[in-house]
């Protein structure tokens, strides 16, 4: 296929408007649900399924076009840029949460204890001490058992499950790389096995993560509600977990596609994009491991 062939501009498409309606339905349902409306869950799930269906059709269309040879090299580059900058936007999404974590640890918590530039704040929270992890909230320091926001009963050390999960994720980044090497060499079997291994590692990670959350809620009393430690812990690990789930699904789809005979040594962007996403998710985890668990 020559790079000079014309750029494929699709004719009309119903997908975008349907996607918009589905997205709108989803968030409206979510909002109703959170605000306690009885119809909320129904609306939400209708929207979510519709949205998933539209996305499925959308990707299927894009794949079909590619297989029909409509996409020239230039168009493929557009997809590459698109995915690249999408991942960058995700990086910034996490940056907001990491920023919040750093701010809280470096400024907010010490200030609440009257350290640094906000000496007189100590008057408000007598007895509060700045520690991280924050086990005793300012509220607790002042109101004791009456406090509405209480710190966690316990937290996780880094060297148990989290370390295991780190190893799992790093390994999965390596396996996905080998899968890439496989497809580039045209070795479909190797590609599929390595990809399968990656998907399994991803699922294992999620399993352990779920296990950790279960322990956190049932045994440690570490919840979203346990002060700023719980807040940052669950927001960061939770959104990361959601991204791992998404990444695993993306890789799984690529695996299924490969069983259907998709991908060529020089044409496998669907897989490549998923693998970039996977590496990104992995890097975020390393950040999490260092800043949430170790330090």
């Amino acid at each position: 296929m020559s790079a000079e062939s014309t750029y494929y501009v699709p004719e009309q498409s119903k997908l975008p408007i349907f996607a918009s309606i589905a997205l709108f339905t989803t968030v409206t349902g979510a909002g109703m649900w959170l605000n306690g409306s009885g119809y909320g869950p129904t609306v939400f799930w209708i929207g979510a399924f519709a949205f998933a269906a539209v996305l499925y059709t959308w990707f299927a269309t894009a794949i079909r076009e590619n297989m029909q040879g409509l996409n020239n090299a230039q168009l493929k580059r557009s997809y590459v840029w698109g995915m690249g900058w999408f991942i960058f936007s995700e990086v910034m999404f996490f940056a907001a949460f990491f920023g919040a974590l750093f701010y809280v640890r470096m400024y907010a918590v010490p200030w609440l204890a009257g350290e640094g530039d906000k000496e007189s704040t100590a008057l408000l929270w007598e007895g509060f001490e700045a520690t991280w992890p924050l086990m005793t909230t300012p509220d607790q320091a002042v109101n004791g058992a009456e406090a509405t926001v209480k710190g966690p009963g316990g937290i996780f050390g880094p060297w148990g499950l989290p370390l295991l999960n780190t190893i799992i994720l790093i390994t999965s980044s390596i396996t996905v790389h080998f899968a890439h090497v496989g497809i580039k060499k045209g070795n479909r079997k190797s590609f599929q096995w390595w990809l399968l291994a990656t998907v399994i590692l991803g699922a294992t990670f999620m399993f352990f993560q779920a296990e950790e959350y279960y322990v956190a809620y049932t045994e440690l009393g570490l919840t979203l509600e346990s002060g700023i430690y719980g807040s940052t812990f669950f927001l960061l690990t939770g959104f990361h977990g959601a991204h791992v789930t998404l990444g695993t699904i993306m890789l799984l789809v690529q695996l299924l596609r490969s069983y259907k005979g998709h991908f060529k040594p020089d044409d496998h962007f669907g897989f490549e994009a998923s693998s970039w996403y996977w590496h990104f998710v992995d890097v975020v985890w390393v950040g999490l491991f260092v800043f949430v668990y170790i330090l």
Partner: protein, 374 residues
């Protein structure tokens, strides 16, 4: 640009012409110089930057208008073709940097001064509430709330607006002149900001954190300001009034306040007749409750008091609501804002007024015991 000139022009006219002096007052067009050293410094900074900006404007717009006039099509058929000049680019990068440095130096010193809250003579804790301020003289056992005094009638146009419309309070903050006063500022609910232009103090009141600011007032007088951070419905209605007195007067005021407190303590122990409670209660209601519940208890932001199931129900439940408020609504815990006597009075009043006709009452000591039991 000619707008900028209008700005300075207006300033010049108003400053030079005595006939217009009164208008200048009314048509306030510039920042106040204020009554503290810091406020004067800030005013000076403001005017300096302003004139720099005017100067830049004159140069930039001057060249522009010159081109628009001299180099318009009807005068100049052929345009020049130049489109680059590295030297020019460097010049107009460097000169602005120099101007900025000239501005930054005094700004830095002033800022350092503003941040130096050490060695204060008096500490006052300022707390923002929706929508009032509370002042606590630290180490003095003296604290009070300061509410908007402008009446609803003035606001809704049913009566003539007074001279200090919206900028008057029931109890101003009283401070001595010539002493360094440190404000320790925070908030009980949402973010507010304590701002008095004449003192050039503006500091956000953040719930859960204490911010500091300071002032030393040079001249006695009454200085008015407003809450400067959107804090909900009545953000526009929480003014600040600072009454600065000579230190001797201030001491006298303080002594009066101490005496008042002693009298109040005595009153608390007394028993009041129903009528006395009703009269006092009406006063409290007009001061504290009317903004949300209306002059006739008809409601507004708050629910109606007239016929309210609470005000016509169990008296202890009623007291509980007044003392502890209703969580998550504008109905605050008035337990710490009203003394026990006023609480008993307003409770008695609202149970009988507005056609509620309950006729029962509580004494200050009942409130005291209720609170103690909590």
């Amino acid at each position: 640009m000619f707008k900028k000139r209008l700005f300075s022009g207006l300033g010049a006219i108003t400053a030079s012409s005595t006939a217009l002096a009164e208008d200048a007052q009314r048509w306030g067009v510039n920042m106040t110089e204020g009554v503290t050293d810091v406020s004067r410094e800030i005013y000076g900074l403001h005017m300096d930057i302003f004139w720099w900006c005017v100067g830049i404007g004159v140069v930039v717009f001057g060249v522009m208008f010159y081109s628009m006039f001299k180099h318009r099509r009807s005068v100049r058929k052929e345009s020049a073709t130049f489109h680059e000049n590295t030297l020019l680019e460097i010049i107009w990068t460097v000169i602005p940097v120099i101007i900025l440095v000239i501005m930054a130096i005094p700004a830095t010193t002033t800022l350092e001064r503003i941040y130096d809250t050490a060695d204060a003579d008096i500490d006052i804790q300022v707390t923002g509430y929706q929508w009032k301020w509370r002042y606590e003289y630290m180490g003095e056992d003296l604290s009070f709330f300061s509410n908007l005094r402008t009446s609803q009638d003035e606001i809704t146009g049913r009566s003539q607006k007074g001279e200090h419309y919206l900028l008057e309070v029931d109890e101003p903050l009283v401070v001595p002149t010539g002493q360094k006063i440190r404000f320790i500022i925070n908030a009980a609910d949402v973010i507010h900001a304590w701002w008095v232009p004449a003192l050039a103090v503006k500091k956000d009141a953040i719930p859960g954190y204490n911010n500091e600011a300071w002032t030393t007032i040079n001249e006695p007088g009454i200085y008015r300001g407003q809450c400067a951070e959107l804090c909900g419905r009545d953000h526009g209605f929480m003014p600040i009034v600072v009454h600065a007195m000579e230190p001797a007067d201030y001491e006298r005021w303080l002594a009066d306040k101490r005496e008042e407190a002693a009298v109040l303590r005595e009153l608390m122990a007394q028993t009041f007749t129903f009528e006395e409670l009703m009269t006092r209660g009406e006063g409290v209601y007009q001061r504290m409750c009317v903004a949300c519940h209306g002059a006739n208890g008809e409601g507004g932001v708050g629910k109606a008091i007239a016929g309210s199931p609470v005000a016509t129900g169990d008296i202890n439940a009623h007291l509980d609501l007044l003392v502890n408020g209703v969580n998550g609504t504008a109905m605050q815990a008035f337990g710490e804002q009203l003394n026990d006597l006023d609480m008993a009075a307003v409770l008695t009043y609202t149970r009988t007024a507005f056609g509620n006709n309950m006729g029962d009452s509580l004494q200050a000591v009942d409130v005291y015991q209720f609170k103690a039991a909590q």
